[in-house]
């Protein structure tokens, strides 16, 4: 990877973009004086600092190859599931199911990608775990909130483990006529998802007037969604060179990623409101928890994976 000129170019662009953001953040911090604006700029700069860390960790994983990338995503799933279940009430009767989810389901789901077992990868959680977890809960004998507890556990696993694992699952696809390493397709997915999130935030802060749904997410605006979405589609189309897609196909794929990513953030926000919290955690400075950054990935990845597999895999 490190010797791949395409990877080096894309990485250089990402670093240059982050450097530009850091410079803008620095200038803003010196010129803004209103207290509310200062808070926004301080949060912006915290987010940018965290982005350096995210880019470094993710870039290093891609450089070190498939195993390290899978381990990184397994850790992300583990932490996201941990954030999800920490805020979701369960009872003592769920203890074995939780233990199994953390220490068996997460590693096995990623191991299945590692050994190229697509068939089991795609049904392991939605079929086998879906049946095993409620069976374990029933054996524990506690019927209080039984349906709700099992639904929460399955939802948590589907969102944070099953859905997110579709991003690194791109590595197991055999794509006809694609001469670059599949890791670049994973990089493409992550760039489009995150650029969409970042520019929705930027356009929302600069031009946001019309709130999309104040009850669910006070920060999401129509202007942010349109501006951020269009920027991500443009960048996604321009990056067609690192994908097996034509420029038009790349734009369509990016549009799917943007729409999926948007609803990921939207649905996970609705869950946060339901649970009465603002962020999933405090692990990433300025952003909140791992799941605050991975929410859009969880919806965008399965869509992108299956469209790519259906239309481009041999």
């Amino acid at each position: 990877m490190i010797a791949n000129p395409v990877f080096v170019t894309v990485t250089a662009c990402v670093i240059a973009f982050l450097a530009l953001c850091t410079a803008i953040g620095f200038v803003l911090a010196r010129h803004v004086s209103a207290p509310a604006a200062r808070d926004t700029v301080a949060n912006l700069n915290a987010r940018i600092r965290s982005w350096w860390g995210i880019v470094f960790v993710f870039g290093a994983a891609l450089v070190f190859g498939r195993v390290v990338t899978l381990v990184l995503f397994a850790i992300l799933s583990f932490l996201a599931f941990r954030e999800f279940m920490s805020l979701t009430p369960t009872r003592a009767g769920d203890h074995r199911s939780l233990f199994l989810s953390f220490f068996v389901v997460v590693p096995v789901q990623y191991l299945l990608i590692g050994i190229d077992w697509y068939g089991l990868f795609s049904i392991f959680i939605p079929v086998y775990i879906f049946l095993i977890l409620p069976a374990l809960s029933a054996v524990a004998g506690d019927t209080k909130d039984f349906l709700a507890r099992n639904a929460k556990l399955q939802w948590g696993l589907m969102l944070t483990v099953f859905a997110i694992s579709h991003a690194p699952a791109l590595l197991l696809l055999d794509l006809s006529g694609y001469r670059l390493p599949n890791a670049l397709l994973l990089l493409y997915l992550m760039i489009v998802v995150q650029i969409s999130d970042v520019f929705q935030y930027v356009f929302g802060k600069l031009f946001g007037r019309t709130r999309l749904s104040p009850a669910i997410s006070p920060s999401k605006t129509v202007e942010g969604l349109v501006g951020g979405g269009l920027t991500a589609v443009l960048i996604g189309a321009a990056l067609y060179g690192i994908t097996p897609f034509s420029p038009f196909q790349a734009a369509a794929m990016s549009a799917v990623i943007v729409i999926g990513g948007f609803f990921g953030g939207f649905v996970l926000s609705a869950i946060k409101r339901d649970l009465g919290v603002k962020d999933w955690g405090r692990m990433i400075e300025g952003h909140g928890g791992i799941l605050d950054r991975m929410d859009s990935v969880s919806f965008a990845s399965p869509l992108f994976f299956h469209l790519t597999r259906y239309y481009f895999a041999t």
Binding site: S86, L87, F99
Partner: protein
């Protein structure tokens, strides 16, 4: 309390440890735990032992309230 009147009793509620390892279980589930600290409790003059304990209990129960503020207390490693 009567022997050390200068000591401050601080109510601390630990959220989630019972979910990490319930009674009778040997399995540990790595959930995030939170420690919430309340204001120090100082015995009122003329308050007897029972009254103070009731007040201490309600102070602790207030911290246990599932109503989560956006900025809860200090996060602890879990």
């Amino acid at each position: 309390m009567q022997r050390f009147p200068q000591a401050e009793l601080v109510p601390v509620y630990l959220d989630n440890p019972r979910r990490v390892m319930p009674k009778g279980s040997f399995l540990i589930v790595p959930l995030i735990c939170t420690a919430r600290f309340g204001a120090p409790l100082i015995p009122d003059p003329g308050e007897d032992r029972e009254q103070f304990l009731v007040r201490a209990r309600s102070a602790l129960m207030a911290l246990a309230d599932p109503q989560r503020s956006p900025e809860p207390a200090v996060p602890a490693a879990g």
